[in-house]
Subunit: 210 residues, 2 copies
């Protein structure tokens, strides 16, 4: 088993943190995005969508897409569950992780990809070229601001994104905040006290360094 | 247990088809989107995101977001699995279902919501208003065309979206095609023969009427 990833890829970090939380240690194979290695024929044979991360199993099966890789890792290493414990818990982690992704992670990515000069015709990741749409940058800023406000309100009532326990939803959350801070100049607002308290707790976990 | 849904909602149909495939029968509670019932205080108490579908359990727990509802139903009714059988199969269904959603369903929804006059300041579903961006309509058309081409190529090699077996990925696929055909005037191209063969097979299943 081997993880193709990049230290520059927030989606790769979502998988690395998940593995660190579960104590899963496998070889990492760096893919050099700055050198456009993801567009090479060798990498396209692994993932035709030309994206990291990809988990390649010993039989050669390639699993891409973060929630899919997580699902494999959770099924094959069920101890320390990060996707919920019973039917209701699994559903609620899926719901909250998706909301963090759709409301926070995705607009941050959309804002960055539509703003960075080097991604002019690469506004969407994947095998097809799409030109940037400047109006999406401003809309993304509003969406990330709404994400911060909505989840600050939620975290005033619960310790973690999905409720009582740390889960994959928190991983997507901390990766979103760090990505939005570094690449989109949108740190958590000073007055979002519950969100800041949550961030300090999860960012202090050893897995956050992964 | 009760499903809040709308017959006008493609996301609701993804859940109804899933239930029909598994033979799960529970009360359906219609939410009248034309009358803006999803914005009522009563419905906001069920789902603050003001979206259907929502599965409400007997203890009052509200599960929203299609993959989360599916996860609960699959865990509580494991027979006739639609999310994969073993660790690898579960991961591959998650991967392919997500690709169908991100490449086909999501751009169709984006194209429609940015084009329909009645959704002028409602370009994104959820609790916040966002103005339409006309450039997204044209981009969505290109994305849906690429989705059709990419999945026509895939289905030349496998019978179903995720491989050998019918799965949730096919449900998202058939809902996407019907939605793109009816609301975005983008039926499957005549020359996409493998995709058409797949569509005819899955659309003929009794669950497709759900």
């Amino acid at each position: 088993m081997r993880l193709y990833h990049s230290t520059a890829s927030p989606n790769s970090r979502r998988v690395r943190m998940f593995m660190a939380e579960k104590g899963i240690s496998i070889p990492f194979q760096p893919v050099n995005l700055a050198e456009k290695e993801q567009f090479s024929d060798a990498f396209k044979a692994i993932n035709p969508r030309q994206q990291v991360p990809v988990l390649v199993l010993d039989d050669g099966t390639a699993i891409a897409e973060v929630p899919a890789i997580w699902r494999f890792l959770e099924e094959s290493h069920p101890e320390h569950p990060l996707l919920g414990s019973d039917a209701t818990g699994k559903a609620l982690v899926a719901m909250w992780e998706r909301r963090v992704e759709l409301d926070g992670f995705a607009p941050t990515m959309e804002g960055v990809r539509n703003a960075v000069p080097g991604l002019k015709s690469r506004a969407l990741s994947g095998p097809h070229d799409y030109e940037q749409i400047p109006g999406l940058v401003e809309r993304s800023k509003r969406r990330v601001a709404n994400f911060y406000a909505d989840f600050d309100a939620r975290l005033a009532n619960v310790p973690f994104m999905a409720g009582a326990d740390f889960s994959a939803a928190d991983i997507t959350g901390v990766v979103t905040v760090d990505f939005a801070t570094a690449a989109f100049k949108m740190p958590i607002p000073e007055d979002s006290r519950a969100l800041r308290r949550w961030y300090e707790t999860v960012a202090a976990r050893p897995s956050a360094k992964a």
